[in-house]
Amino acid sequence: MKRRRIRNVVLLAGAIIALGGWSGRSQVDAASILRKGFDNWRSKTSESVVKMTIHRPDWVRSLTMRVWTEGHDKSLVRFTAPAKDAGNGTLTVSGRTWMYTPKLNQIVALPASAMSQSWMGSDFSNDDLSKTESLITDYRSRILSTESAGGHKVYIVEAIPKPAAPVVWGKQLVRVRDDGVFLEEVFYDQDMKAVRTMTTEKVGSIGGRAYPIEIRMAPNGKPGEWTSVETVEAKFDVPLPSYTFTKSNLQNPRG
């Protein structure tokens, strides 16, 4: 009887240690997997040419832009086509976003109320641009499961917002490959209803790495509405001048 009790205690302690170890390892792994994904996506610096297509049931619109990024909190987007939008630009530094439009020849700071609004009429919001690494900094993540696809191990990561984190989503579910290529991101509202999905449509080699060349963001329940972003060319870890992410460069491009 006594021996059996000791055995039960040992088993229980073992289970607790195992679960704790699994939980801790899971959290570390999930965060590092997401970090790997972001590093693969943007690296230390990046310079790319991107084509964005906004698709609606009754019209389609395509824009081309040049994008520069540095670290996780600096980005500059400058539109080059169509002619009507050429010269428009968006600068994001440390969560603050400014817009420039040649029509006004003026820089306008985006107020907080504008952050949830659509960016350039697409299915991306201004928040999507400014909070690129929010998934790592504002969420607690854990690996739900793994699967195999295309010769890669694919992690399914669940990210729940940290208490009081300044985020709009109730949950995000991410599918990411072991080489850091994001395959899918599902955004859930506060009622845990999936409201939009970002899917990688095409993975290819660009800038010397496996990369999600074409991604598509689509609001759920709105057939025929989506925005795709295709990376046409990209260079990573390139030296960028210090003036790149400044308002003066947003208004008067130097490079």
């Binding site: 619109r61 428009n88 006004l104």
Partner: protein, 392 residues
């Protein structure tokens, strides 16, 4: 004496109901009309799904033609309007705002925002790059009439809507959200800036009164259906207001029913005493051959007469007080903030209607007549003539 006290009780309760109902219904009417008249209109013709997802690409084509067609309904007017979210900026200061594109002449017929001008002037026909905005928004942006304001938003074709405008006037509606977040520009400029062509996002519907527009809803819906559009009535435009009124009216009804029940019990008590005192008389009537049903009917008629006299006096008293405030209006100290939130004027004019005048007294009369009739019929049937005449 007991009879007069019963009549007085009925009269006071009836007067209270007449005045309370007149005040309450007038207050609701004023809340609805004042609130809707500020910017919404009494109803709107909208593209399907616009109410839940007000996308600038959801439009009413040939808006002016459709407005003219709707205006052919007797007593109804319509005005096209554009609506978009945009950023308004003055140098480094920028704020998000709902920008409305209005046709100044017809819009001013249907809404009252133009009457709440606090600085500068309102938009005029022929204005192009002019802008009016709430005074709180102007204060936040640090602009006053004559200053330039930049507008940046998303146009209907997906391009950036950008415009430089001149602030010509500020309004103060007293409604915080409007004063902080709404700006209006001429519709033609709105259509150009937001790439809308000749389209609008909604048609505002107005008329002589909210009731007139409500009566025209079937015609409006028929026209809207033909164009693949839908009509939103006042309750759909202002669901919070509708819920507030429903909740308040439900609470009021509990109070009214309680009042009627108390009055009925007081009257029944008085009449029951009267019946007990007249038991010998009823016994004699039964003994000479009068049927108990006839005695109960006689008592019931007395009861109805009592209720009618009391209610008549109540209608006269309550109606007179309500009519006085219909002529003079009334102010309620301490509620100015609530009044301002709903766009109500500081002085409320009570409107006496047949419904407000008769509903309460009719309920009192009905309750007394029905319950009293049953009660006395039962009471009289149990009277034994011999015992009653013997005083037992």
């Amino acid at each position: 004496m007991r009879t007069w006290l019963s009549i007085l009780t009925i009269a006071l309760a009836s007067a209270l109901l007449v005045f309370s109902l007149s005040f309450q219904l007038s207050f609701y009417g004023a809340m609805k009309e004042s609130s809707l008249r500020v910017t919404d209109g009494f109803a709107q013709v909208q593209p399907k799904g616009y109410q839940d997802d007000p996308d600038i690409r959801k439009t009413v084509g040939n808006a002016n033609d459709l407005a003219a067609r709707i205006a052919r309904i007797p007593g109804i007017a319509a005005a096209p309007r554009g609506s978009a979210y945009a950023i308004l900026a003055n140098g480094p200061r920028s704020f998000g705002a709902e920008v409305l594109g209005i046709d100044p002449a017809p819009d001013s017929e249907l809404t009252t925002l133009h009457a709440k001008l606090s600085a500068g002037r309102w938009l005029r026909a022929g204005d192009s790059g002019a802008l009016v905005m709430g005074d709180a928004l102007a204060r936040n942006l640090g602009v006053s009439p004559g200053d330039k304001v930049s507008l940046v938003g998303s146009a209907a074709d997906g391009s950036i809507a950008a415009d430089g405008l001149v602030l010509v006037g500020e309004f103060h509606s007293g409604i915080g959200d409007l004063d902080r977040q709404v700006a209006e520009i001429p519709l033609a400029r709105f259509q150009e800036t937001f790439a809308l062509g000749g389209k609008a996002n909604v048609l505002l519907i107005g008329g002589r009164s909210l009731d007139a527009v409500d009566r025209a809803l079937p015609d409006l819906r028929r026209i809207a259906n033909q164009e693949g559009l839908e009509v939103k009535d006042w309750g759909e435009l202002e669901p919070a207001l509708k819920q507030a009124i429903t909740l308040d009216f439900s609470t009021g009804m509990i109070w009214y029913v309680s009042l009627i029940a108390i009055v009925a019990f007081i009257v029944f008590n008085a009449l029951l005493m009267a019946v007990l005192e007249r038991t010998r008389e009823f016994g004699m009537l039964l003994a000479v051959g009068m049927r108990s049903e006839s005695i109960a009917k006689m008592l019931w008629l007395e009861l109805c007469l009592l209720a009618l006299v009391g209610n008549g006096a109540g209608i006269l008293l309550g109606g007179s007080v309500a009519y006085y405030f219909e002529r003079q209006g009334m102010t309620i100290g301490g509620l100015q903030g609530v009044f301002a939130d709903w766009g109500l004027p500081s002085r409320l004019f009570i409107h006496v209607t047949p419904a407000s005048l008769l509903a309460g007294p009719a309920a009192i009369t009905g309750t007394i007549a029905l319950a009293g009739g049953l009660l006395f019929a039962r009471r009289v049937r149990r009277i034994d003539p011999a015992a009653a005449m013997g005083g037992r």
